[in-house]
Symmetry: C2
Subunit: 462 residues, 2 copies
């Protein structure tokens, strides 16, 4: 009741706590690209060989870290969809959660560097266990003060049932981690299997359920018990938090680019005096390609954000599946600092340069492609998820499709150009990136003209 709630002056809206957590988690997930991007690739050797080493270890570690952190983020969302108001005690417990989540990438990289040493596994499991225990503590605390809970649960009669259901789901992770750390003493390969199960558990259980549903006929779940913590793909996801998380990723990626410029490309006064006889312009000319690469990459990050922003502006309700596709898209966006490093690192007209451009194209293509996939997934249940304007036949439908497919098309075009045009260089690629905003400005005109032309050709009566 509002009067009761007003009585607890220390009870607070959780909005800002969640925004801060989103910012922290998104930055943590993304900065782990830095150790990959800072790997020095030797000029003289072929990119392919050194790239294989990179691909097999560091990129895989980056992607896994991104995945693990987003899984932790998803469980954080679930938790705070149940607990909607906070007090000081919950805020402090949440900060403890954040500390452990930011420490996860380190334990994971220990595990990846020393796969046969049990210390990495034990540390990773210990982090997970403590994290799970704190989350369970938050749930118990929340249910002991019902005015903190979601309104739906607050008025529900079987609060105890909810509490047990949620605790059961949360405690699965620490218990499995406990077994994983015990097995690491006996037979450590088994620990990795258990940890993989922990991460993919929601998806595995969902596909099993789906298969069973197909085999023995659709079994309807009781809707009351399954409102929270269902792991179903159409379970609603807080759109606000998906946006905040995505903003964090885009912002930190844009910043990592300029950070490299600020750290590496301010020449030493002594060097300028000796090598360039005091001419700063001459010294900075060496960095020309880097500036171009910076402006090109920043434009790409900015416009991918712009497309994401346009898309989510017309999304009414996000589902878990859309969230998953969004995570994949963001993982590739997080790879852009690597693309930036590679494209300006190699001498002009080398084979390495072309391959670096191809890698950039692949990264941009998948970042854009998964954004398009979010839209396609949303169209499948458009009545619930999309604004009328962008549904089939809505007046913004074609325009949105054009916006979303622009980047995948540009990336594909650039990729094939590298195959056929031997003169294609990193500078041309970056100039191309810089001109894309004008394509966005012209897009509306082009789409309108195209539609008018189509209408004129196929139904000239209207």
């Amino acid at each position: 009741t509002p009067s009761e709630r007003g009585g607890h002056s220390s009870t607070q809206s959780s909005h800002r706590l969640l925004a801060y957590s989103d910012a922290l988690i998104s930055i943590i997930a993304t900065v782990m690209i830095l150790p990959v991007a800072h790997t020095k690739v030797q000029d003289n050797e072929e990119l392919k060989e050194s790239l294989q080493v990179l691909l097999t270890t560091k990129i895989a570690v980056y992607l896994m870290t991104f995945l693990i952190v987003t899984v932790a983020w998803a469980s954080h969302i679930r938790l705070f969809q149940v607990i909607e108001r906070i007090d000081d005690c919950l805020a402090l417990m949440n900060l403890a959660c954040m500390m452990l989540i930011t420490f996860l990438p380190y334990t994971f990289s220990l595990m990846a560097t020393f796969p046969e040493n049990i210390l990495g596994i034990v540390l990773f499991c210990a982090c997970d266990m403590v994290l799970g225990l704190i989350q369970a503590l938050i749930v118990v605390y929340g249910f002991s003060r019902p005015f903190l809970l979601n309104d739906q649960i607050q008025v529900s009669e079987n609060q105890v049932f909810y509490k047990h259901h949620i605790l059961k789901v949360i405690m699965r992770v620490p218990i499995m981690c406990f077994f994983a750390s015990i097995f690491s003493l006996i037979f450590f390969q088994l620990s990795y299997v258990i940890l993989a199960i922990v991460i993919f558990l929601p998806y595995i259980s969902q596909s099993l359920k789906w298969c069973r549903g197909k085999a023995i006929g659709q079994v309807e779940e009781t809707p009351d018990s399954m409102l929270f913590y269902t792991y179903q793909l159409n379970e609603p996801l807080s759109k606000e938090r998906v946006e905040a998380f995505s903003d964090g990723v885009f912002a930190i990626v844009a910043t990592l680019l300029i950070l490299d410029i600020c750290e590496d490309n301010v020449p030493d006064p002594a060097t300028v005096k000796e090598q360039y006889s005091g001419s700063l312009v001459a010294a900075l000319q060496v960095y020309g390609p880097e500036y171009l690469a910076y402006f090109g990459s920043f434009t790409t990050v900015g416009l991918l954000w712009f497309v994401h922003h346009s898309l989510f502006l017309h999304v009414i309700k996000a589902t878990r599946f859309m969230g998953l596709l969004n995570t994949f898209s963001l993982a590739f966006v997080g790879g852009l600092p690597l693309a930036y490093q590679l494209t300006h690192e190699f001498p002009r007209n080398s084979r390495n340069e072309l391959e670096a451009i191809q890698i950039s194209c692949v990264i941009i293509f998948f970042a854009g492609f998964f954004q398009l996939a979010i839209w396609v997934a949303a169209l499948f249940c458009e009545r619930e998820t999309l604004h009328p304007y962008v549904r089939y036949g809505g007046r913004e439908h074609t325009f949105m499709l054009a916006k979303l497919s622009l980047y995948p098309c540009v990336a594909l075009g650039a990729f094939f150009s590298t195959c056929f045009l031997s003169k294609f260089s990193a500078s041309i690629f970056h100039l191309m990136e810089i001109t894309v905003p004008f394509a966005f400005l012209l897009l509306r005109l082009l789409v309108r003209g195209g539609l008018a032309l189509l209408r004129l050709m196929f139904c000239p009566d209207r």
Copy 2:
């Protein structure tokens, strides 16, 4: 009119655009501490000497960069208090602004490294000029489509007057930068004076106005013309944006700490095999102080965020002066990665270690002190700015004071301990940082007990 506005389907709420801009600008302002923190201080020389070099150049550059970026952020807030809705075109123009703002720190560090070379000045001025021109373009574009504007201006009769007033204020900066870049060809010292005036212009003009007001009696401004772009200290500031900006700074500071751990403290497998005969535990023991420093620093950042969150929860309306104090507080929070680097870098029980702890204490003290100052400033006009609970005599008043003064007190206490206790070490300091959260948990009990005691002593009748 709403019907007209609904007709423009491409018109959007600017909420997310602003959140993204806040995230970007806060991260840019803060990551510039990295070049300072990564300066290697030699073990054998005295901290004092190398510190003097650090202090005079790099820290000054960091603080100036932080100030310049926050000035750009403040002008961004002003702009989007006038333009409340956006369309695709404005979103793209805003991204162009963001690109220039992220480039500002680089041009400034060029200027700082080569103070006598005009190239740095010219680049910095060019950035500022283009930024001002884009902002003017945004204003012209906004006024040509009045449905994008603030409701107050939209219904006002003298829109043209507003437009000219705002354009006049915005164009001041590019015009002064233009003169600065021209003077750099003739007499470059004058350029610096002009640039300093540009940055401090609002404060200078305000203090001049204040002096004139005191000298010839208070002159009341016409309220209609002065709603926007007044630079008065009690001009309202969007509380939401101050929170978003602060969240960004706290989040990136917390992340920079773990980034250092992930990049530097994963031992090389070959080294572990050779030096520690394959024992990972032994290899990691070397990093013990770093882990402790990480947990201590993370706790401090988290709790400073917590105090900030508690304070702004009870703030109804933020003013420009509170925003300025908040900027000072955040500039010191941004210095925490430097404190972290310094405290775990030196051998135990050296004089350097004690001095590093003292620097940390100073940073934490000022970060907390300016938060307290925000509250004091808010109390001066408490009817407008604060929630009744925390005003004088409100039931949370004393508790809030205790919360805000905890960190300055702890920092002062640690500082004096280093002076008197020669056994005080970095480990003790970090352990102290880790125990502060429990102080926060106990604070409510302590305050209640203290108040009850006071009441019992002075007015036993109630």
